[in-house]
Every structure is written in structure tokens, then in C-alpha cells.
């Protein structure tokens, strides 16, 4: 038994990592829906979900149970094989993309093996290209769902989605070329490493990030990425006022949930990519010499935990008065653990900054949905082809000239 374990250690570690990441991503997805509903509700002066559990915190569980137990009818006249394949394809590709993201700089030493955060090997040389390859296939989930449903509105949604994705994929790919030129590699870890050290004016920390020299590239990338994930204000494939629910009109129950999870997972992937490519990934915005900032994660966690406890003891329902202080104690306790164990605190610095940046981008996603009206179809096409693509090409040419004249740094 032990010999079997040691012989296949890499394989076993990878399988455990996949299971763990799957659990984390799916839970994050569930609470992202809660977060989105809450934020959009507050933008519109509403309360959002607040019936199921304190502050509606158990709403995602209720939604999940509902998705599982609903009837799942197959409409008449659908192309059975493609109809069932489409949600599977969408979900699988969305989840595969997140396997390429590295989540922390240092490995954990466990049972004599260096275990890196993130599933893909740390020296995956085509990191960003592999991600683009997976997102390039992602369009099939939506397009085929629209086509195979044998219904007008889904077909319109599928067509819109394919046209939109073809148009924006060019700008998406061109906009990161500037970053790749500056880093000289496709490897996501090396792209982050290239952002460490002195940046503009030789200042440390946040000034080394790619966002300063690549502001135009970031703008093109973020807009194109939102369009690629079919989110507002580019959510024409599922424009509910025009197309009922777009490509997923004929899907119910868990097959609908699969599209839903795929969309939210893509949001997380794009947020990871934005943080890694333009905002220094797991690098701290402060200079390395400011060691006191290493207590920032603990300070934030403990403060947030105490606030949740304070909020919880005044909550209306008994469940809330039990659940919220418990949750707050857990969060504050986590912060205390980081303070008490310096080794742990050192290890979580990278993941803390990366996760904070991802969280900010997810908030921006939701914020945009709550703020901006949807594009008209011709505006969408004109914007992609006449503004985004030329802008990203200008960015590539300018970056190349600057690097040719003054070197990469």
C-alpha cells in the first residue's frame, strides 16, 4: 500500500488538488450568486435575499437543492445528443480553465513533496495560451445549446453569442501581447515574477505592476473579457427583454445550473487573469521592506470577524444570533492563527493578495451589471471591431517600439 502511494504520489496529489479546487470553486460560485444579488439589490435600494438564513446566507444552498429536485424535461424536436452535450461542454471547459491558474508563489512541503497551489505544473510554458485555447472552445457550449434547442429565441441567442465571441476574441488575444512582450514568456508564474521589483520611476511595490505601462492593454482586455463571458453590459446572448432567456431558454433544472456555474466560473477565471496579467498577481502593493504590512490579512480578518459577531448578537432571528457570531468567531480565529504562527502568516501573504484582487474584480463585474445598460447589437459589433481591436493593435505596436528602444524594463 505504501509503495503504491509513493509510486503514484504525483497522481494522487493532483487528484486531491482537483477535488479540493472543485469544491472551493463551486462553493465560491454559490456565494458569488448571493454576493451579486445582494450588491445589485443595494445598488437598486432593495434588500436582496434575506429570508433563508441570516442575511440570506443559506439562499445558495436552497437554490442548489431547488436545481437538483426540479423536473428536467427534454423539449420535443431537440437534437438529443447536442442538447445534452452543450451544458456539459460549457461546464467542463469553464472548470478546466481555472486549473491553469496558479494561486500562490511558494509550495507547501508535505510528505516530502513540494505541493504548489494550483493544479497545473508550475513550469507550464504555454500557460496563457492554454487558457486562451480553452476559452476559444468555450463558445461551443452556448452556440450549440442555442442551436440544438430547436426554438427561435435560443437560436438567436446562440447566433449572437458566436458572433460576439468571434469579434471580441481577437481584441482579447491582442490586448495581452503587450504584457507578454514585457515579460518575455507565456508562463503565468513568470509573468507575475516580471512585475516584482522597481517599476516606473524606480519605485517599488505597486509601481512595478503591468497596469501602469499597459493601461490601454488592460482596458481592452477587461472589456473583451467581459464580452467573452457574456456578462452585462455585453449579455446579448441572454437578453431577457428580447430573447426570453436567450440560449438557455429550453434548459431546466440541473442542465440550466450547469450553464449558470460555467458563467460564474468564467467570471472567476477572468478576475484571476486580470489580477495576474496586470495587477501583479500575488505581489503585495507595498514595498518588501514594509514587513508590518504582513499583519494586514490578520488585521482585516479579525476586524471583519468582530464586526460579524457584533452584528450577529443583535440579529432578529435566533438562527442568526447563533450562526453569525459562530461565523465571526471562525473568521477572527483564522486571523488569530495567522498572527500566532509566523510561518503560516508568511505563506498566506501571496494567496491573500491574489484573492483580494480577484474579489475586487468580481465586485467590479457585479457593479457594472448593476450600473450599465446593455449595448445595442450594432453598437456591440462597432465597439469590438472599430475601437477595441485597433486600440489593442496600437498598444502592441507602441509596446514593441518602446521595448526595442529602451529594453523591457
Amino acid at each position: 500500500m505504501t509503495s503504491f502511494l509513493s509510486a503514484n504520489a504525483e497522481l494522487i496529489i493532483t487528484i486531491v488538488k482537483i477535488a479540493l479546487l472543485l469544491f472551493i470553486v463551486l462553493t465560491a460560485n454559490a456565494y458569488l450568486t448571493w454576493f451579486e444579488r445582494k450588491v445589485v439589490a443595494h445598488i437598486q435600494s432593495r434588500w436582496g435575499p434575506h429570508r433563508v438564513g441570516p442575511h440570506g446566507l443559506l439562499q445558495p444552498l436552497a437554490d442548489g437543492a431547488k436545481f437538483l429536485f426540479k423536473e428536467d424535461p427534454t423539449p420535443a424536436g431537440v437534437d438529443k445528443f447536442v442538447y445534452h452535450l452543450a451544458p456539459l461542454l460549457a461546464l467542463t471547459l469553464a472548470l478546466t480553465a481555472i486549473a491553469i491558474i496558479p494561486f500562490g508563489p511558494n509550495p507547501i512541503r508535505l510528505f516530502g513533496h513540494d505541493i504548489y497551489l494550483g493544479i497545473a505544473s508550475p513550469d507550464l510554458n504555454i500557460g496563457i495560451l492554454a487558457l486562451f485555447a480553452i476559452t476559444a472552445l468555450g463558445v461551443y457550449g452556448v452556440a450549440l445549446a442555442g442551436w440544438s434547442s430547436n426554438s427561435k429565441y435560443p437560436l438567436m441567442g446562440g447566433l449572437r453569442s458566436s458572433a460576439q465571441m468571434i469579434s471580441y476574441e481577437l481584441a482579447l488575444t491582442m490586448s495581452v501581447v503587450g504584457v507578454l512582450l514585457m515579460a518575455g514568456t507565456f508562463n503565468l508564474r513568470d509573468i507575475i515574477k516580471a512585475q516584482a521589483g522597481p517599476g516606473i520611476f524606480g519605485w517599488p511595490g505597486i509601481f512595478g505592476w503591468n497596469i501602469w505601462p499597459q493601461l490601454l492593454g488592460f482596458f481592452c482586455f477587461f472589456v473583451a473579457a467581459i464580452a467573452e463571458t457574456n456578462r452585462a453590459p455585453f449579455d446579448l446572448p441572454e437578453a431577457e427583454q428580447e430573447l426570453v432567456a436567450g440560449f438557455n431558454t429550453e434548459y431546466a433544472s440541473f442542465k440550466f445550473a450547469m450553464f449558470f456555474i460555467a458563467e460564474y466560473t468564467s467570471m472567476i477565471t477572468v478576475s484571476c487573469l486580470c489580477s495576474i496579467m496586470f495587477f501583479g498577481g500575488w505581489l503585495s502593493p507595498f514595498p518588501d521592506t514594509w514587513t508590518f504590512t504582513h499583519y494586514l490579512p490578520s488585521a482585516i480578518l479579525i476586524a471583519f470577524g468582530l464586526w460579524v459577531i457584533w452584528d450577529g448578537i443583535r440579529y432578529e432571528t435566533i438562527l442568526g444570533r447563533i450562526m453569525l457570531p459562530g461565523l465571526g468567531t471562525a473568521i477572527a480565529g483564522l486571523g488569530a492563527v495567522f498572527v500566532l504562527f509566523p510561518g503560516v502568516n508568511e505563506f498566506i501573504q501571496g494567496p491573500f493578495w491574489l484573492l483580494s484582487k480577484i474579489f475586487i474584480f468580481l465586485f467590479v463585474y457585479v457593479w457594472m451589471r448593476g450600473t450599465l445598460p446593455r449595448f445595442r447589437y450594432d453598437q456591440l459589433m462597432a465597439f469590438g471591431w472599430k475601437l477595441l481591436l485597433p486600440a489593442s493593435i496600437v498598444n502592441v505596436i507602441t509596446t514593441s517600439f518602446v521595448i526595442l528602444k529602451w529594453g523591457a524594463k
Binding site: D79, A136, L144, S162, E169
Partner: protein, 167 residues
Amino acid sequence: MTPQLAVFFVLAALAVAGAISLILQKHPIHSALSLIVVMVALAGLYLLLGAEFVAAVQIIVYGGAIMVLFVFVIMLLNAGVEEHTSISKMAGGPGLLLVVALGGFIAATIARSSESVQAAEQTGTLSSTRGISSMIFKDFVYPFELTSFLILVAILGATVLAQREKS
């Protein structure tokens, strides 16, 4: 059997099965899907040879962009199930002969140079992005630019042909 060889056989079988399915499927969308399977399986084979860049580009360009256009056009035209005609005389006689000739040619080539075919580990210029780019932009820069120019002319031609008449 090494794991690499096992993966090779799985991918090769997938590619061949996809290619056969591409011809036998009655509906255009199903044929397009089969072609995507072939493209992705080929990308897997490139990856197995250590040509990571080529594999990624294979999926991005062929699996993604080009096949999405295929699917898009089929969906837009709402093409239905194709009628199957009996094998034409052209395909029956000379076609079969050509298949035999091509198969024989490939078999002969493989038999003649068995060593170079077995040398699967590509560690030369083709494996790295740097190697490919220096080949394209240094060694073969004129043919490459000429091809780009040709494609540009084709795009302009297509745009002119598709343009509405100015009234």
C-alpha cells in the same frame, strides 16, 4: 506500453474516429462537431511531441476561430439534413485508385525512413515559441509576408464582393 504510447493510441483513435464520423454524419452540425474532435485530438498529438506552442495555436485557430465560423454559418443558414446520393462514378473508380495510391505512398515513406519517424521527441527549433518565431521572421520572412499579403488581398476581395451596391 509506456503511458505516452497509450495516450498516443487514444488520441490517434479519436482523430481517426472523428474523421470517419465527419464523412458519415448526415447533419452538417454533427459533421462540424466531428471535425472539432479531430482538431483537438491533433492538438493533443502535438502536445505529446513536445510542441506546446503549436498545440495551443492549433486549438485557438482551428478548434476555436475557424470551426466557430463553420458552426456559425451552418446555424445562420439553418442547413438541414443532407440528402445522401449514391457514390458518383468519379468517386467510385479514380477515387478508390487514389486512396490506394496515397495509402501506398505513405506506407512506403514510413517503411523507408523508420528511424526518423520513431524519433518522436521534438526538442529542436520547432518546439519552442522562440524557435518558431525566428524561423518565421528570419529564415522564411519573405514567403511568410507574401502569404500574409495574399490573405489580405483575399479579405479585401471578399469585402468588395459582399458590399452592397451604392445607390
